[in-house]
Symmetry: C2
Subunit: 356 residues, 2 copies
């Protein structure tokens, strides 16, 4: 094993979770942060038995700070840790790589990376060692990175339980622009458009709009850095989207064009890999009307367990103005869904199934 000691700079959710995962595998971990109290909290969570000091020769230094702090940190740490491999975890990859290239000799021992985990949670206290378990974790070794550094980066991901995906920093930033950053912009645009709605229209907002704009709740501090620093790639996607939008505006009154347009969306959706990394799957949905009170979900899931049917997904739809809810269970196999539907109906639930 190449990694027996690690210094984690940045004791937020990601940094501390990496620390936890490494410590669980027997790696000596030093947690660090601009805030001494944050570092100390993280250290006590991750590796309370710390018995080495901060000028230890770490095998790997993980930079888990916000994009804006990256350069400052690397300037400080590269000299303190002259033999360590550096791995960062920023959501953008081209810019940190370019910054590293401005320091002589550093590119050889630097590998950019981006774990696909951690949304909606923050801080050391939310960290957990299994955060990266089974998740894709992109590494972007540059042409200048040594094979030893790349090996360390891979091992870091594997120790954390992540699944290594390798691509160039440029490709990473293009891919994220398409699957994450441009969608964020569109979701924020649609959500922002509600400010032009008449108040009575707001009551007509349904589940579709809610789902579509959920990511518009994102943190503006973090996203201003991601959007502005990957602006070139995002603008490429947005401008293509805008051109398609222009065409759609022209064609929309033509039913055939409208149909083809929706079908293209259907087809795109079908490309998204399903659960467990396999191909997308079609579920059977069971819709159940419940009273909105404690214990109802437990009662349903008890009956599901008794029926010995595995629920792949669940959603609850709220009924404005009334204390009832609609629970939708997703089941993978048709015969299992049928078995469950019968069982639940016998148990007194109002169930009906769909397979859309």
């Amino acid at each position: 094993m190449s990694i027996s000691s690690a210094k984690i700079i940045g004791s937020g959710l990601i940094g501390t979770s990496i620390g936890l995962a490494l410590a669980q595998k027997g790696v000596q971990v030093l947690m660090s942060d601009a805030s001494e109290s944050a570092a100390s909290l993280a250290q006590s969570l991750v590796y309370p038995q710390k018995d080495f000091d901060s000028d230890h020769a770490f095998d790997v230094v993980v930079i888990a700070v916000p994009p804006s702090a990256f350069r400052e940190v690397i300037i400080l740490e590269k000299d303190i840790n002259p033999t360590s491999t550096f791995v960062d975890i920023l959501s953008i990859k081209t810019k940190p790589q370019l910054e590293v290239e401005t320091f002589k000799g550093l590119s050889e021992r630097f590998v950019g990376s981006h774990p696909m985990a951690g949304r909606e949670v923050s801080g050391a206290k939310s960290a957990r060692g299994d955060l990266f378990m089974g998740r894709s974790w992109i590494i972007c070794p540059s042409d200048q990175a040594s094979s030893a550094s790349e090996k360390v980066a891979r091992e870091l991901v594997e120790l954390c339980g992540g699944v290594v995906v390798t691509m160039s920093a440029e490709e990473h930033d293009q891919a994220m622009a398409l699957v994450s950053h441009a969608p964020q912009v569109l979701a924020s645009l649609m959500a922002g458009a509600l400010m032009e709605a008449k108040p009575q229209w707001l009551n007509l907002v349904g589940q579709g709009f809610r789902d579509m704009t959920r990511i518009a709740d994102s943190d503006s501090e973090l996203w201003q850095e991601i959007l502005s620093e990957n602006a070139v790639n995002i603008v490429d996607v947005l401008s293509l989207t805008r051109k398609k939008l222009e065409k759609t505006e022209r064609d929309l009154s033509n039913p055939l064009a409208a149909k083809e347009f929706i079908e293209a969306g259907n087809e795109g959706r079908s490309l998204i890999p399903g659960k467990h990394g396999g191909a997308a799957r079609r579920y059977i949905y069971l819709h159940i009307v419940i009273d909105d009170k404690a214990g109802q979900l437990a009662a349903i899931f008890n009956d599901c367990a008794k029926a010995q049917v595995n629920i792949e997904d669940v959603s609850i739809e709220h009924t404005p103005g009334q204390n009832t809810g609609l629970v939708t269970l997703s089941v993978l196999e048709a015969h299992k869904a049928e078995q469950l539907e019968k069982y639940l109906i016998t148990a007194g639930w109002k169930v009906h199934s769909t397979s859309k």
Copy 2:
């Protein structure tokens, strides 16, 4: 009560659910459909005791057919039912109203309507009488509609358990363009863009993209009619969106502009009314790592019930390449969330909470 008998034309999900709701309130219901077998199935579900014939003087005739069949149906039915009030349930409202105005005297006894219910399900067998319970149901009485007709339309909604929202057909179509139809177009556009992604990028698609494009799974037959027939209003929203997109493309590399942009989305989201029709609420989220096997959800919800804490919402996040899942429970009150977290940890679950 003004409604003691009703003819429902169109025995799909919506028509049959209306039939079920009315019959449960003692209304005599005749189900009808272009397909005789569909009508007969619906009739036996809704009102098996049918003891009146099809030239009965119905108090209300409900038109629950696809938009493309509307005109044909109205031509046929207006003469057979010369005293009945007509109510339709199409997702667009200006066009049917204009069509009605081409028939002398019909406008007085016609009221357009649109129940906010029924997505993702279809067919008489999926119908249920409580489909509209507590849901907004828009009625659009024109200037020419008689007050007696409007009264019948209101009573229809109330018998079905819906909440009447009144607006003009024009306003309905504008509102739907903003909160439903334009978002559908954008979701389909983003989903369709995946066809340009490299295969390895598809594994990087996260929950945000999935949620955002869920409605891109929509049925192309239905949506081609909605999009093409409400094209004027949808294009208004899209063209405004496109102009904002153009501005965003120019400004995105400026961190301050990017921040303001995300904040505008945050603000728009905060306008969406929360559960039970009240103002949007902030939840505490508990994240729990589970094994992906039958019974795990039941076990969690059992413990929630034992802890006497009401779960407002639940989501399951899938872990590609691995048989574990992350369950997120939403709880309304901080002290309840804390109570639940402690209880679940004691019960052996891996829990951590966030309040974003």
